[in-house]
């Protein structure tokens, strides 16, 4: 009561206007671009030229468009699973680790079958299934600790990211290293049977992109029209109402972690099979973390996530182009992604709350 400063208070809006709800992500992107322009100015470059390199040129170039789709695919696939967790107030921060472990063990099938010439049809499906299963089991570690011992899932899932990365690092430097690889820490290149075919003959995008699109549709139906999706929605909004509806919180926690880990692991297997075609010390430029931004930017809805994944992929492609063409540091892309997330969260808060400033009586 003695504070003499202005006080800001957030007051919940009774019913956020529909236009505002739809417009908020757009405003957030515009605001983030403004901040981005300031950062580019501070680096002594022209924002207009940078934006043209960042956004306009990739969208005008068919090759870049295919690149965007390939980059967006893992982001969207991971974010679909994360959105389920986040809707139920479960904080899986370790999708990066689940992605890496899925890619590692899925890719392990390709390493193990290297050189096989007969009956290879099962290799691709096995890689994808092992990848998904590995990611699911890996995500179940924080989930089981949470429901049995009450351990924070945020910390455990995050720390397991580093375990997964070091595990992959050890394998490619040690037992799985390509004997004919001139001592580079990589496995042998995958055989054709372990590589995802293009989505259509001669196409520039691999079949995993199609799988992602299919998953977006499936997730849309699951969330809107199944009991499971209904349980997820209520649990986040009102846990006591979820108990009244008879949904078991612990079972749901395990199921959601397994699902989101499974999707991240599948994305990892798709990435090594469809894009990298071998295992190397790093198989992700941070997809698992960027997917957190994608999930929130997409308002935790499957179709929103599809759009948000494409936007974020654009910043990756544009960032590479800007580095080459304008010598802008790649860190600028990461900084921009952070600013974008902040703007999205702020826009989200302001859609649902109005700010009032109270001046204490003199």
């Amino acid at each position: 009561m003695s504070a003499s400063a202005l006080r800001f208070r957030l007051i919940a809006r009774a019913r956020p206007s529909r236009t505002l709800v739809l417009l908020a992500p757009v405003l957030a992107v515009v605001l983030a671009l403004a901040f981005g322009a300031l950062m580019i100015l501070a680096l002594g470059k022209s924002p207009l030229q940078a934006f043209s390199v960042y956004f306009a040129r990739p969208l005008a170039d068919p090759f870049s468009l295919a690149e965007i789709a390939v980059k967006a695919s893992p982001l969207v696939m991971i974010a679909l699973g994360l959105a389920l967790c986040y809707r139920a107030n479960l904080w899986n921060i370790g999708a990066e680790g689940q992605f890496v472990i899925g890619g590692t063990l899925g890719g392990g099938i390709a390493v193990a079958t290297h050189g096989m010439t007969h009956a290879t049809f099962w290799i691709l499906p096995a890689m994808l299934m092992v990848g998904a299963l590995a990611g699911a089991l890996y995500a179940l570690i924080p989930a089981v600790l949470k429901v049995t011992l009450g351990v924070s899932e945020i910390l455990v899932s995050l720390m397991l990211v580093y375990v997964a990365q070091l595990f992959l690092d050890y394998l490619v430097r040690g037992p799985w290293r390509d004997p004919k690889g001139f001592n580079f820490p990589v496995t042998a290149g995958f055989d054709t049977a372990a590589i995802l075919p293009p989505l259509w003959p001669g196409g520039a995008v691999h079949a995993g992109v199609g799988l992602t699109l299919l998953l977006v549709v499936i997730m849309g139906v699951v969330l809107a029209s199944t009991r499971f999706g209904y349980a997820v929605r209520i649990t986040g909004l009102a846990p006591r109402a979820a108990a009244f509806a008879g949904f078991d919180q612990r079972r749901l926690t395990l199921a959601l972690f397994a699902l989101s880990g499974g999707l991240a692991g599948l994305a990892g297997a798709v990435e090594v099979s469809g894009v990298i075609n071998q295992l190397q010390p790093s198989i992700s430029p941070g997809y698992g973390f960027a997917a957190i931004i994608v999930a929130f930017l997409g308002r935790l809805s499957p179709w929103g996530i599809l759009v948000a994944g494409l936007v974020l992929a654009l910043t990756y492609i544009g960032g590479e182009a800007a580095q080459i063409a304008m010598k802008l540091p790649l860190d600028l892309t990461t900084a921009f992604q952070g600013v974008l997330l902040m703007c999205v969260l702020a826009a989200d808060v302001l859609t649902h709350y109005s700010v009032t400033i109270t001046r204490p009586a003199a």
Binding site: M1, Y230, A238, A243, G246
Partner: protein, 511 residues
Amino acid sequence: MSSAPPLVSLDHITRRFGALVANDDVSLALRPGEIHALLGENGAGKSTLVKILYGLIQPDSGTINLDGVARRIASPQEARDAGIGMVFQHFSLFDNLTVAENIALVLPAKAGLKRLEARILAIAERYGLALDPSRPIWSLSAGERQRVEIVRALIQEPRVLVLDEPTSVLTPQEAETLFATLNRLKAEGKALVYISHKLEEVRGLCDCATILRAGRVVATCDPKAYSAHALAELMMGRDIGAVRPPGGGAGGAVRLRLNRLNLASPDLHGISLKDISLEVHDGEVVGVAGIAGNGQSELFAALSGESSTAPDAIAIDGHNVGDSDINQRRGLDAAFVPEERNGHAAVGAMSLADNLLLSRHALPGLLRHGLIDSAALRARTVEVIASFDVRTSGPDAPARTLSGGNLQKFAVGRELARAPKLLIINQPTWGVDALAAAAIRQAIVDLAAKGAAVLVISQDLDELYEVSDRLCALAHGQLSALHAAAALDRSAIGLLMGGSGHATREVSHVG
């Protein structure tokens, strides 16, 4: 009504919240030696008015006059300095601090705790408020906690004391003690504001009544000169019919049997249920009386399956269900309505149709091939809305846009539309306007008349007498014996609510 000049008067107060006019040109004069009732439905503007008087809200227009001089009251501190005290409906006490420590918190820091204890005892004695200053709050009953709040207000020697629904948490005996205290304060020349919707109480206690409806003063009168029914009509602006009395069933088969139900509380100061046994028959309404915090929520959770118990502690229609989940119990034609509407019985952010699914998703009819049949869901929702006269824009309206009474009608209607054989309902009309309350009570009685067994847990004795065939009371987690409602008068049930007959804890300071 005395003609002494008012100590405090509120003149032509108007306060808007967005489009809602909470107080519209309201005037109120508080005279010394007078207990002034403020009557009105939920949402009539009573709380806004007293918050303006206590400096918590500023009026858009109008003035507050103290001894005839206009004065701005910018904060509760200024209100207290001006001699205005307030006893809130919801206690604002720290459980782990003692009585004296809680009172010291509102006083200037220099008052020593020892001296303060002496002052507390002096005030407590003067007004007949038995209190031990050194006891921690968590060990006190609701009535004792209220005494702490009153002493905390009185120690600042107010000339005006506002009490918001003070008897809602008291047994009839505790209420009588409170009335004696209030009459003593009145005799000393203090002006009291008494907010209540219990009309008989107001008629017995108050000298003057101001009745608010939809933010406006509809009458200022001597409540003793009107019948309770006439006052209710003034409050509501229309007549509310009485609930048709229960049929007096208890002839049917046993539908719900509790057999030595025990449930340990997970909370440090929570209430554990101890050895509760009870039978509810088809065709009867059994009422469970009791002051909030005596195990009602725990009992409801055990009955609904949100808390698990020994399998044979609870039987529905002969099936042991103590460790079954809520949907298995629903499968035995049981239905449940919890106390809290927002976040428990309903999800505010979801549409009414989605909320209908909350208690129906595990039952046949609303899912097809594993997918929610949204057409059927909307149709069932429209039926509930129509048959219970829920005022809403339709099945797609988010639950939070409904008023408390309408949302409660929806939560009750959702369960009754299934024609359950057993209904368990906790605080059926808590915070609900009188019309909705009457409709809900009627629905409870009608359900039993059709042969269902109903268990009503409620703090409201008027309500229990209106709907119940048999009554018992829950005190400190123990249930009293069942009595025919007609054979149990209010003072008898009051004693049961205070826990007499269990001898586990003394009934504190009655009389």
